[in-house]
């Protein structure tokens, strides 16, 4: 039986846009604009979409690294206790900060250049009650070995490491308090392709060993197919399609996902499908288009798309739940 670990309800993050001498607020970037999403314990949920569609912001909002403007983030513990995180006082967040962690994209800014690895990692451990230095060294050393690095590396400075090594150290940091869910924000995008594969395998191995749940953010759908159990496709701050990863490739419902999938380079020449070229850039999240946010670029757009906003509806493909938001889906909606 699948159990949720996080339930996002109507989550919104709007950044004010300021202009003029007096920093007047002239508008809002609707970085995340009403996201409903359940993440199940033990799954790998992919979150895909073009650059700027709000993936990172969504990940940060879950950890409250940015404050959500509206909506709920509910954490469900192993004993089914539900806690709403966005309304908690800062200090009451602590027990949940342990459970939710993040691995960042850029290996060059993800480690503090002035501290050794141990130096930057020990404060969080100290804060969460590991008082003795030996114990802290042991935890960090063990984790370094778990990501195939040497214990001694903990006394080195970040500039002594390569990008792939830094990324593995970033993983150690995320793991050091034994979290339940890790947001991997394009954790491998900045690495060489050969190293990418290693780090991905490592992440999957760690997931198995430590019973982790991943929210795996990526703009590259070719990676997600093999890693993710389910995939959510995001466009302009909203989720437009959410389904099992197999169904996303074989029973695509949303025109935007279709376009993304067709852009994946295919090795097998026979399977080469016609590439759908998306015209124009992603519209500004300050003034998203009326109606379906995708309609100016959608090859299938009709009149209704320009006026009415499609909602995320539930369908069934291949016997699995399949959510999509498009007016032109001719499958029966299920409730």
């Amino acid at each position: 039986m699948k159990k949720e670990i996080l339930k996002l309800r109507g989550l919104k993050v709007h950044f004010p846009v300021q202009a003029g001498v007096f920093n007047r607020v002239v508008g809002h970037v609707l970085a995340v604009d009403g996201v409903d999403l359940d993440i199940f314990r033990g799954e790998v949920l992919g979150l895909a979409g073009e650059s700027g569609c709000g993936k990172t912001t969504l990940g940060k909002a879950i950890l409250r690294l940015v404050e959500p403007t509206d909506g709920e983030v509910k954490y469900i513990s192993q004993d089914d206790d539900e806690t709403e995180l966005t309304s908690l006082e800062k200090k009451d967040m602590d027990p949940f900060r342990k459970k939710l962690q993040i691995v960042f994209q850029d290996p060059h800014s993800s480690l503090n250049p002035s501290f050794t690895i141990f130096g930057s990692l020990q404060d969080p451990l100290k804060k969460f009650g590991i008082k003795s230095k030996e114990e802290r060294r042991k935890i960090i050393g063990d984790l370094l070995e778990a990501v195939n690095m040497r214990r001694e590396y903990m006394d080195r400075y970040p500039h002594e490491f390569s990008g792939g090594q830094r990324q593995r150290i970033g993983i150690v940091r995320a793991l050091c308090l034994e979290p339940e869910l890790i947001v991997c924000d394009e954790a491998v995008s900045a690495l060489d392709v050969s190293i990418q594969a290693q780090v991905l395998k490592l992440l999957m191995q760690l997931k198995k060993e430590k019973n982790l749940t991943y929210l795996f953010i990526t703009h590259d759908l070719s990676v997600t197919e093999y890693l993710c159990d389910r995939i959510a496709v995001m466009y302009l701050g909203r989720i437009v399609e959410l389904c099992d990863s197999e169904d996303l490739y074989n029973n695509t419902l949303h025109p935007y996902s279709e376009a993304l999938i067709s852009a994946i380079p295919v090795a097998d020449l026979d399977k080469q499908t016609k590439r759908i070229v998306l015209e124009g850039d992603v519209p500004s999240p300050v003034n998203p288009p009326k109606g379906c946010p995708f309609h100016p670029r959608c090859p299938k757009a009709t009149d209704i798309c320009k006026t009415e906003v499609p909602t995320l509806k539930k369908y069934s493909t291949n016997g699995n739940e399949h959510y999509a938001s498009c007016h032109l889906i001719d499958l029966p909606e299920i409730s």
Binding site: F104, N112, P124, R150, R156, Y157, H159
Partner: protein
């Protein structure tokens, strides 16, 4: 099975990593770059000599900087009196040494203290943002736009001339620059991912900004401290020359220079103001060389 092949691949990577010699420590790279800058090294050497000479002034000179000796008034430089004597027979060389103590103390002390105040406010406000930042920014603007000389006149007329009043004025007018520097660094640092990571652990603002971020903001601040030291020493000399700085009975470089106000002395007794003027210029120049050297060696965009 899959796991062991993964392990094997990692072992290969690991071996390669270990064979590669690790680059030397970051700190020593900065030191090396600094040492390659001839002017900076020269500056550092002369700077050190002047400071040591001031500190060990009593060992280097048999005279008392304050003692009046009417038998040897206005003597030109000689073996006994290297820089000659002044109108009351005091040894000018001794006075330059002892004056250095006070002048350097004022310059360096004001620079460091304004840096401490500026950093303390700037780090917090820059990291936190919001209304704290807005208020601190406005206050710093008020202090920075207030003319130093008027502030000096004001304070001198209210509380009288004293060394500490002068330092207080330097700090009041000087912390704003440091604050802005620290704040600007923090604004860019706080978006770095390692800061986000620390926040994701819920560490306190103090730990994050003063312990983890500040070390990465220090190098431009160090440069600024050296440059402000030079500026404060010059300002002290200027104000004391005008009789507004440190009380005249305390020897400082500016107070020694003060005698040059007398046209007779300016024309006839060059040793009373010449050497001290040169010492001030040389010292300030050296401090600026050191500052430039520090800036070049810590600037990440000039790595290599």
């Amino acid at each position: 099975m899959a796991k062991s092949s993964l392990d094997k691949k990692f072992d290969q990577i690991r071996k390669r990593e270990e064979e590669k010699t690790f680059s030397t420590k970051k700190r020593s790279r900065i030191v090396n770059k600094f040492l390659n800058n001839r002017l900076a090294v020269l500056g550092l050497i002369i700077f050190t000599i002047i400071i040591l000479a001031s500190i060990f002034a009593p060992l280097l000179s048999p005279y008392d900087p304050m003692r009046v000796d009417l038998r040897s008034m206005r003597q030109p430089p000689s073996f006994d009196h290297w820089f000659g004597t002044d109108s009351t027979g005091r040894d000018v060389f001794t006075r330059v040494l002892f004056g250095g103590r006070v002048s350097i103390f004022i310059g360096l002390g004001s620079a460091i203290l304004s840096a401490v105040v500026g950093i303390a406010v700037g780090c917090y406000a820059g990291y936190k943002g919001g209304w704290i930042d807005v208020i601190a920014l406005r206050i710093s603007e008020i202090f920075m736009s207030f003319p130093q000389i008027i502030l000096v006149l004001l304070l001198v007329s209210i509380t009288g001339q004293s060394l500490f009043n002068l330092m207080a004025i330097f700090i009041l007018t000087g912390w704003g620059g440091m604050y802005r520097l620290a704040r600007a660094r923090m604004l860019s640092l706080r978006e770095e991912e390692y800061v986000q990571a620390l926040r994701s652990f819920g560490l306190s603002t103090f730990t994050i900004c003063y312990k983890h971020m500040l070390p990465n903001a220090l190098s431009p601040i160090m440069v600024n401290i050296t440059l402000s030291t030079a500026m404060f020493i010059l300002t002290e000399a200027g104000l004391s020359f005008l009789g507004l700085g440190v009380p005249l009975n305390i020897p400082t470089w500016g107070n020694i220079l003060n005698v040059a106000q007398d046209i007779l002395i300016l024309q006839n007794y060059w040793w009373m103001w010449g050497p001290v003027g040169i010492v001030i210029s040389v010292f300030v120049l050296c401090v600026n060389f050191i500052g430039d050297g520090l800036r070049d060696s810590t600037d990440p965009s000039q790595q290599g």
